[in-house]
């Protein structure tokens, strides 16, 4: 599966509690809707580490990297490219 699909799937199954967001799209907001909260970010960071084998640096935990599935996927892709 591509990065976006894996991230979307994880967020849908682990973090989305409101059925309003069950059809989550890659550019839907995750922060202003509260889909990712302070507990959720811990889960996402662990998921990124386990699934893709990359670590997110503390300095990268900023809104622009987590505001959408697309933003998270881009961050992961950048890191994967950096590993090669």
């Amino acid at each position: 599966m591509e990065v976006n699909a894996l991230v979307r799937q994880f967020i849908k199954t682990e973090l989305v509690t409101d059925h309003l967001y069950s059809d989550l799209q890659d550019n839907d907001p995750l922060l202003t809707t509260g889909i990712i909260d302070s507990l959720g970010i811990v889960k996402i960071l662990a998921f990124i580490q386990e699934q893709f084998g990359v670590n997110v640096d503390d300095r990268e935990i900023v809104p622009e990297n987590f505001e959408t599935v697309q933003a998270i996927s881009s961050l992961i892709q950048q890191k994967l490219a950096g590993k090669q």
């Binding site: 922060l31 202003t32 909260d37 970010i41 503390d58 300095r59 935990i61 900023v62 809104p63 987590f66």
Partner: protein, 381 residues
């Protein structure tokens, strides 16, 4: 696995004990009663190098690794019963210096760290608000950017070192809609326009360390005083909480050791029913429990510090350390009071003060309940 300290590390611990025995003695009972902070003792610790232990030499510190720092703080707690002073210095070190070191620009490090290490400036962290305690990320202090400044508005409370602090690490949101990722950290100096620092609030223990409210009313903070990026506050908060939860109680492990030694001595000397009370199993068992708590507290402290230093992040171990050390300290203080009987209840024996001090440790840096929540979450619950 090697559990031994090097000769040099043990030498450093001995030197701190020697220093504390010689220099950090004053009328602590009286100062506790009055709730008086001693700038003089703070400065002596700064001159000895304690305030800069984990900070690299280029920023005015001692450049010690974290484990050696923890060992030295343990030595300090062993020889100095002023837990308020140790707590205040630990908050200054782990909650203000470390975030600046880990997240600051070179300019910020040069501007603040040398002054914080040499005692010229005292640091404080301001997260908690009257309506945002355990749920710290629900804070409502705002930071609105206007040109080269941010305007900060809000009220912070329970700020350790507050009344004597020169630099406050303040957490505020730049955009409430972004939730926890709107939280941003700022280095606010006490003479910036718009900050009002309250008076010391009387409290149960740790009374030689002052704390207060701070009110930010259109407080003008230059952009260059923002620590890291907008929205990076949560990462800074988590990093500093991990340091705090892992290491802030190191001094109190030393205190537990001293208390254990004194209690053993007392149980050997105090006679009832024509024999030392330590010969009664009920008394000896309490002392055995104190010993086991001390040794396990030590191990968990060293492991969490080592993990945090080598892996960068150790949230589970930090939470376990904070929970276990604080609750062990309270239990051991209660045991010590009980073994000393009525004398243990007097102010003169200094055990009731230690107990009052210990209770605070189950509240700051996240209450015991919050540490349990964090641990449960890491266990997938």
């Amino acid at each position: 696995m090697d559990f031994s300290w090097s000769k040099e590390q043990l030498e450093l611990k001995r030197a701190v004990i020697e220093f504390a025995r010689k220099e950090l003695t004053d009328d602590l009972v009286q100062r506790d009663r009055e709730g008086t902070f001693s700038r003089d003792l703070w400065q002596k610790c700064a001159d000895f190098g304690i305030l800069g232990l984990p900070i690299p030499r280029e920023y005015g510190g001692q450049g010690m690794d974290r484990l050696t720092t923890v060992l030295m703080m343990e030595g300090l707690g062993y020889a100095c019963k002023d837990h308020g002073l140790i707590f205040g210095m630990s908050a200054h070190m782990w909650d203000v210096e470390m975030p600046i070191l880990d997240f600051g620009t070179e300019e910020q490090k040069q501007r603040y760290l040398p002054r914080l290490c040499n005692g010229q400036a005292i640091g404080a962290i301001a997260i908690t608000e009257p309506e945002a305690g355990s749920d710290a990320f629900s804070l409502s202090t705002t930071a609105e950017k206007q040109g080269n400044y941010y305007l900060l508005n809000g009220t912070k409370t329970f700020v350790t070192n507050g009344p004597v602090a020169d630099v406050f690490l303040v957490f505020a949101t730049v955009n409430k809609k972004l939730g926890f990722l709107g939280i941003t950290a700022f280095l606010v100096e006490k003479n910036f326009p718009g900050i009002t620092v309250g008076k010391n609030i009387d409290k149960m223990g740790l009374k030689t360390n002052p704390w207060s409210e701070i009110v930010l009313d259109n407080c003008k903070v230059p952009v260059e005083n923002r620590l890291a990026k907008e929205g990076n506050g949560v990462a800074i908060f988590n990093d500093s909480m991990e340091w705090e939860r892992s290491c802030i109680l190191a001094g109190f492990v030393g205190s537990m050791e001293k208390q254990l030694e004194e209690t053993i001595q007392y149980a050997r000397e105090r006679k009832q029913f024509k024999q030392p009370i330590g010969k009664f199993q009920a008394v000896a068992n309490r002392i055995v429990d104190m010993k086991i708590r001390l040794e396990t507290a030590r191990l968990i402290l060293y492991r969490a510090t080592w993990l945090k230093e080598t892996q960068g992040s150790a949230p589970l171990d930090a939470a376990m350390t904070k929970l276990y050390l604080s609750e062990s300290w309270v239990k051991s203080c209660l045991d010590a009071v009980q073994i000393h009987g009525g004398y243990g209840y007097t102010t003169e024996f200094e055990l009731e003060r230690a107990l009052r001090d210990a209770v605070g440790s189950t509240l700051f840096a996240g209450t015991s309940e919050i540490q349990r929540n964090i641990i449960a979450q890491h266990l997938g619950l």
